[in-house]
Each structure stands twice: as structure tokens, then as C-alpha cells.
Symmetry: C2
């Protein structure tokens, strides 16, 4: 089944202690869409400026991503630039040029409105709500977010949480949202805000799912080298929903495995700048790592 993904479509300039890569394809929707494309057909909703490189359009197309919902708007593409510290855990935003994203209003083509799986990738909650409002009757809706929206758009985010099946956030965002550093207390509070499924991402420490079948502790695929973790969280949730949309059976029956697929897809993202590595892998590379990860967790 197909997955509709909304989020930012951006150009990312990324510095690490050893390398610098300007104007890479980035943004939450780009990372999530490429990740999901390994499993299911993807429809993208986003807005870019007239400066958006043709090669990135080609890259989306190479992954079979439907661009019927990608608006090319007068002005410049959203540009983010950031710098990572030595251990890749701390990053510092150097510049944020919103460009066309400032006034972007998602408009769903008719063919998009029936998509059964919807990923509301990280973007302003008001835009996530706008996309959700244009959908007919999605089977499964998952939302991602970030600290920025918890800080500056909490009322919209809370409105959104009442209407999604799943919510994905990282551990520090969970603490920010719930004022609790205990994972159980945080999960309980987030469930009370609406979502049946809550996923807390912990970077290289894996992730935790809480839902009707209880807690699932999902390992991260351990990496020999991390080149650039930008977009890993988006790749995780993209791989997750892509796998879910491809799997037969109920959400409950597939969600744990979907998290493992998301986790493995995200591992590739970290091994190259931007989407450099993820766009070079095959589906079989993901299957191989999933098998390895199974071998690393069995006892």
C-alpha cells in the first residue's frame, strides 16, 4: 500500500569535525520518503524554491517517489546549516533560512487523499494538521515532531496528537513535553495526549515502543563509523511506515518488526552525509542488516 509523506524538503549544509558538505538534499520529508521507498510506493508533499537542483528531483524519481504533491514555489528552498561536535551527539545550528517554507501551504492532489498510510514528518504542526484535514480516511497516521514545535507551537501539537495513531519523538523531546525523565512516566503522559502508539527514539541506544501489546525495546544497529547523523530520525520513521505499508496483517502484528526495519534503514543514513549513503543501498542491504541485528539480539 502507498504512504503519503509530508515534511520539509530542504537543502542542508553540514559540517563535521573532519568534513564539510554544502547544499545536500535534506529535510524530514526527503529522508523519510527515500527510507520508505525501499518498502512501499511513496507520495511526497512539500515545497521547494526555484533554486532546487534538478538532480535532487531526479534522485526522488530514482526512488519511485510520486512528486505530484511537491510544489515548486517562487523564492528559495529552505536551507539549514549545522555543525556537529567531535562525538556527533551535539549539533549546533549555524543558519536557518526558511525561504519558501515560510509561506508553504500543503495542497493534496486528489490521488493523494486516499493514501492508506500517512506520515506527518517533522514540520510545523499547523501544516501537519492541514494535511491530515485533507485526507479521506487513512488507515494509520504517525506524526514526528521536534523540540522547536514543543516550545513554540504546543497548542497545535496537542491538537494534532488527539488525531494520530502513533507519535514519534526522541528522549529529550519526551522529557521536554512531559517534564519527566522516567520513560514509563513520560510514555503514560504522552498516551494520555492521544496516541495509541508512542515511540521514543534514543539515537545509538535504540528506541522504545509503547502500545497495546506493551513495551518493545528496539535495538539500534551498531555502526563502525558515523559520518553524519542528520536525518536518521526521519529515516527511522520513514522506514517504519514504509515497512508497515508493505506488510500483511494488523498494525499490532507488524509494528515491532517495522521498528527494526526503521532502525536498520536509519543506520545507513548515519554512514554518509545527507542522503549520500541511503540513496546508494538496495533493499537487500537492509534485509542483510536486519538478519544481522536478529543475530545480535537472540539469546
Amino acid at each position: 500500500m502507498s504512504v503519503l509523506i509530508v515534511g520539509t524538503t530542504a537543502l542542508d549544509s553540514i559540517k563535521t569535525p573532519t568534513k564539510e558538505n554544502p547544499r545536500l538534499l535534506g529535510g524530514s520529508a526527503s529522508h523519510a520518503a527515500v527510507a520508505a521507498s525501499f518498502f512501499s510506493p511513496v507520495k511526497l508533499v512539500g515545497g521547494v524554491g526555484e533554486d532546487f537542483p534538478k538532480k535532487y528531483i531526479k534522485l526522488y524519481r530514482k526512488h519511485g517517489i510520486d512528486l505530484g504533491g511537491l510544489q515548486i514555489l517562487p523564492g528559495k528552498t529552505f536551507h539549514w546549516s549545522g555543525e556537529y561536535g567531535v562525538n556527533m551527539n551535539n549539533r549546533r545550528t549555524l543558519a536557518t533560512e526558511l525561504g519558501v517554507i515560510e509561506t508553504f501551504q500543503p495542497k493534496l492532489p486528489a490521488a493523494y487523499q486516499n493514501a492508506p498510510f500517512l506520515l506527518l514528518g517533522n514540520i510545523a504542526p499547523a501544516l501537519q494538521l492541514s494535511v491530515l484535514g485533507q485526507m479521506k480516511k487513512p488507515k494509520f497516521v504517525v506524526a514526528d515532531s521536534m523540540d522547536l514545535w514543543i516550545n513554540i507551537a504546543l497548542p497545535d501539537l496537542l491538537k494534532l496528537l488527539k488525531r494520530v495513531d502513533g507519535f514519534v519523538l526522541n528522549d529529550s523531546e519526551a522529557e521536554l513535553l512531559t517534564k519527566s525523565d522516567n520513560v514509563f512516566a513520560a510514555l503514560k503522559k504522552i498516551h494520555q495526549l492521544g496516541p495509541k502508539y508512542v515511540i521514543i527514539k534514543k539515537g545509538s541506544h535504540g528506541s522504545i515502543l509503547s502500545g497495546p501489546k506493551g513495551i518493545f525495546i528496539c535495538p539500534a544497529y551498531p555502526l563502525h563509523t558515523v559520518e553524519d547523523p542528520t536525518g536518521a530520525g526521519d529515516s527511522f520513521v520513514g522506514g517504519l511506515i514504509g515497512y508497515l505499508a508493505s506488510a500483511k496483517g494488523s498494525i499490532d502484528a507488524n509494528l515491532r518488526r517495522a521498528m527494526v526495519y526503521g532502525s536498520v534503514t536509519a543506520s545507513f543514513c548515519c554512514e554518509g552525509f545527507g542522503l549520500n549513503r541511503t540513496t546508494k543501498i538496495k533493499h537487500s542491504d537492509i534485509e542483510k542488516r536486519v538478519k544481522e541485528l536478529v543475530g545480535m539480539t537472540e539469546f
Copy 2:
């Protein structure tokens, strides 16, 4: 089979943001011995002062711990006092009074020298070497350590590592020892120092085993409340070696499961001050959590 455990036998005064508990039974050997006692007969090697409370001797005995190697020495028991911050991750040592531990020399009773399993719990590497030197032919030797010994007794520690089967340390100690923050690079370097099995503990994020059967990612049992994490690492390795000594079959066949048992035993340690909680559980409580943990990791 029996487990010989050497390490510190101490009195711990522990402060957390909400509570304060003076002169609890503590020390690496105490925590490890109680943890191991749920699975196998334990022989303790340590030294305490004349002030060591009788009730703690009784507590060891309640757990069937053989005290033939516990020396009661003229002077005061090793006393450590520390304080935890709000999130329980950072602790600050308030005072360290070495007492009898300063001149303590482990002497193994004849009946101890044939113990098949040996845990060299966290204590000066010179003392760990001394105990190892008095053993006949242990089947399996695992050593624990801490940042202090990496900083002030590295030559002794390196000598020790050449002679043990397994080495357990936490992630920051692994980085300190290897100057590498990548887990694979760190594991490789530590294997080169001698141990066939290396275990890196990551607190609430679980632990990682590296050995001939590859990598094993061991989850931590997630806790609703953490009262006091002091001794959790010692409980982990104590539970691990206790389980190993009780299990039929090869080390390789049992080690992953032993880590899960160690992880679960350590979870109880965190739920009370000092050994307050661990000394109140039954073996069936451990089995119950192991079963739950299996349920939280299957996919």
C-alpha cells in the same frame, strides 16, 4: 558450581535528591556476592574493620555466602559516601575513607583455591592479581574495574587483562582506556589487551558483549523508579557469573543468557538504597523479569 568473588566490602553513605541513607552495606564484592547468590554458591574474599555491623554478616549468611575469606581487621571498614544529582546519572563522591582496605591483602583459604568461577570485582588490580595468583585452575575468570584504576594503576590493570577470560567495564571507562568513542573500535582494542570476552555496560541503555560468537546487544530491564543505582554494575556482573556457574553447557552457549540474568538482577539493585531491595527478592522474581524482558524484545 561455586563462584569466588573478591572486591571491596564497604559501608556506603548515599544521598539522593530526596533521601539519605548512612552506612549501608556496600562495596563491589557485597553487591556481586548477593547477586550471584541467587544462582550459585558464593565464596567471598574481602576485608572489613572491627566496626563492621554484625547485621551485615548475618545478611551475607542469609544469602548462603561463604565468609571463610572475609578478614576482620583491626581498624575501620572502608567507607564511601556519595551524592546523586536529579537524574541519577551523575554522582559525586563526598568522602572516601579507605580504612582497613588500605593495607588489606587477600588470603584465600585452601577450600577457595579450587573454585571454578572467579569474579575479580572492582578493587585495586594488584589485589585482583594477587587473588588470581592464589587460584589453582579456574574454569572462567571475569574482571571488573573502574576509571580510578585506569587512571592510577594502568600497568597492573594491563597485566591483569592478559590473564582473564572476560572483562567488564562501562562505556566511559572503555573510552578512557582505548581513547575511542566508537564501540567497535573500543572493543577491538580491549580484545587486543587480552580478554576473549568484553562486556561494555551502558547503564539504563543495556550492555554489549563481544566474543567469539560476535556481538550481543543486551537490553536493560526498564524501571519505573530508580532509587539508588550504586552497585548496579557489580550486581550485573555478579548475576552474570552466578548464572554462568549454575548453567550446564559451554560458556559460549550460556553467556548471552547470563548477561540478561545479570541485567535483570541489576534492575532490582536500582530500586532500593544499597542492597535493601536486592536482599528482599527471591529467585522467582528474577525469573519473572527475565520472562518479561524476553517479551519486550521479541519481534
